[in-house]
């Protein structure tokens, strides 16, 4: 394929999504907009966590910690640039450009945090990562609450409301296409090999630690994106938005959808986000429900709803079986 065509193919999902998202943004009521945006942020978090927990077979439970890193970076940048205008651009466009730069910087700092956490813990077997990421999630909170520059426990308030359906939709499309294209690439094959059998993968010449760290860094950077989008929706950046409750919520989405299935994570994230809107009255039972869900899922159906398959594999299956039945004698 010619390079131009490759670029076009990568851009295809965005080109398709753009008009749909624009229409949705214009038609939607403000109440539904918030619900849809939070669902979209959950999709970004779940699909990116799936790269680590699903494809690579490691287990991170501190995804919200990386979201916090991205969120604080983005929030600091937009508040610092608030009121300033880039030369030659109108106020609205300038704000959007600043927001874009803030989100990208958030992704970069979150990726760096992922590198620092991933490097030591991913050299070992998977279960160390779980406890290190849980610890990281707590430490990030301690650091934020002790740093006056980051607003301590009260956080940074007065952020501009910049997150729209379009931004979140584009972020979700980027995350999903990243995950899908990653798993089809050489890199993705290596990750799957690590998941299936780490020793065998290493014997076949896969640099296991290197690939694990790279997957972890990619996932962390997208968590940073989700964090940046979240704080510019609620216009407030506090450590309370990024506790391990949030991390576990994302883990439940990935496990429920099926570890290794991108569409599974997306479906589970959407279902859980909308279900939680309905259950707002009984907030206190939320974590109890999550933990029970995790235990029962592991005992009865550890592969989740979709397993490692994608939604189109499941929809296609009956057709294939019918074709087989016809040729059978």
């Amino acid at each position: 394929m010619r390079p131009v065509l490759i670029v076009l193919r990568s851009a295809l999902p965005f080109i398709f999504a753009l008009p749909i998202l624009l229409v949705v943004q214009l038609k939607i009521s403000p109440g539904w907009e918030i619900i849809l945006i939070s669902a979209g942020i959950n999709v970004i978090l779940a699909a990116s966590l799936n790269v680590v927990n699903g494809f690579t077979g490691q287990f991170s439970i501190g995804h919200a910690g990386f979201a916090a890193v991205g969120a604080y970076t983005a929030a600091k940048i937009t508040t610092a640039m608030h009121g300033l205008q880039i030369m030659g651009l109108s106020a609205g466009v300038s704000d959007q450009v600043v927001f874009f730069l803030a989100l990208v910087s958030g992704m970069i700092t979150a990726a760096l945090a992922g590198l620092v956490v991933g490097m030591p813990s991913l050299r070992l077997r998977g279960d160390y990562l779980a406890i290190v990421t849980l610890g990281f999630n707590e430490i990030i909170r301690v650091i934020i609450e002790n740093t006056p520059f980051l607003g301590q426990a009260t956080g940074i308030s007065g952020l501009p409301r910049l997150t729209t359906v379009l931004w979140v939709g584009m972020g979700a499309v980027a995350t999903i296409s990243m995950a899908r294209r990653l798993v089809g690439s050489t890199h993705g094959r290596a990750l799957l090999a690590i998941r299936e059998d780490e020793v065998a993968a290493e014997a076949m010449g896969v640099d296991t630690t290197g690939y694990k760290v790279r997957a972890f860094v990619i996932a962390s950077s997208f968590a940073g994106l989700a964090g940046g989008l979240l704080v510019h929706l609620i216009q407030l950046c506090t450590p309370r938005s990024f506790t391990f409750v949030k991390s576990i919520e994302v883990v439940v989405m990935v496990v429920l959808g099926g570890m290794g299935s991108v569409t599974g994570s997306v479906v589970a994230a959407l279902v859980l986000s909308f279900a939680l809107e309905g259950l707002r009255e009984v907030q206190q039972y939320r974590m109890v429900v999550y933990s029970l869900l995790l235990i029962v899922l592991m005992l009865t159906r550890p592969s989740g709803i979709f397993g490692t398959r994608e939604i189109w594999d499941i929809v296609k299956l009956p057709r294939r079986r019918r074709a087989g039945a016809e040729t059978a004698p």
Partner: protein, 309 residues
């Protein structure tokens, strides 16, 4: 110098608690190769069962040493049973499956305990259970007496808890290395399949290991309540992580390693936060863990065993 000694006393008293909890992590890891995420929360349940027992016996109004002993042993038994139940219903059905499955279940159990205890109390139970998110305070089982030798403050609670913890560790050392059960436990930890072929009842050994580890966690909870009487449902979370760090530092799966690791972490935390970074106290254990994983991932006494296929 006085400050240095005071930190030494504080570090030792916290370190023994870490060591007791770390022992539970390390023993379970030894026999199951599973990081028992729920262990920190078993510690929390130990604190609460002590709290309820103490209230039921009215320790606050009529303190006595006998009651303190009953509360102590009672909580250890309750936690031991809880540990056995968790293993029986959550981990055993998954033992033959992928390791990740049991790890996720362990995380589930941990959060179930943490958030189940934060629910509002059930009205028809008679006692305020579940306790809800507000912290409770432990009644004092005997009067607090403080001494100040060389200007260092030491209370009788510190002495009692330190001696009890050391006593428990000596008993554990005896159980693991001198008794029949200890021998079979080490055999299961070495190779559970072969141990089973040699006639060891692997299931029973694992159950007893959970009972032992969870009982030690309850003991740690009650001893810690002597200096920090606040009890709340999330108390096991950070303490659990710290004890895990101690176990990794000593070499996970290694019983003496957990004791040394606990003491080392307690002292390190006390000195670093005492002299330099007091507000980042909870972060020290984490930095410690990262350094251990970078420099010597097998821990102080652990041997790095290459995986055989």
């Amino acid at each position: 110098m006085t400050e240095f000694l005071q930190h030494l006393v504080n570090g030792l008293s916290v370190g023994t608690i870490y060591a007791l909890i770390a022992l539970g992590y390390t023993m379970v890891y030894g026999v199951l190769k599973l990081i028992n995420f729920a262990h920190g929360d078993v510690y929390m349940v130990g604190a609460f069962s002590g709290f309820y027992l103490a209230n039921a016996m009215d320790v606050g109004a009529h303190p006595s040493l006998g009651k303190a002993f009953v509360v102590f042993v009672g909580s250890m038994i309750i936690c031991g049973l809880l540990g056995v139940a968790i293993e029986r219903f959550a981990y055993r059905p998954l033992r033959q499956r992928a390791r990740l499955t049991s790890l996720i279940t362990a995380i589930g159990v941990s959060f179930l305990l943490e958030y189940g205890f934060q629910l509002p109390a059930i009205p028809w139970l008679g006692i305020p259970f579940p306790p809800g998110p507000t912290p409770r305070f432990f009644p004092e089982p005997f009067t607090r007496i403080g001494w100040e030798p060389f200007g260092v403050y030491v209370s009788n609670y510190d002495v009692v808890s330190f001696l009890t913890a050391v006593g428990l560790m000596i008993i554990l050392q005896y159980i693991v290395y001198r008794t029949r059960f200890g021998t079979s436990m080490r055999a299961v930890s070495f190779d559970s399949q072969v141990a089973g072929l040699m006639g060891i009842n692997v299931n029973r050994v694992i159950s007893y290991t959970f009972a032992l580890g969870s009982g030690l966690a309850a003991a740690a909870a009650l001893l810690f309540a002597g200096s920090r009487p606040k009890v709340d449902p999330l108390m096991g979370l950070s303490l659990g992580i710290k004890a895990f760090v101690a176990a990794v530092f000593g070499g996970i799966g290694n019983v003496p390693g957990a004791m040394v690791g606990g003491l080392a972490l307690g002292l390190a935390e006390e000195y670093v936060s005492g002299y330099a970074l007091s507000s980042y106290r909870d972060g020290i254990a984490f930095a410690f863990l990262i350094i251990v994983l970078l420099v010597r991932p097998a821990g102080l006494f652990g041997k790095f065993r290459a995986e055989k296929v």
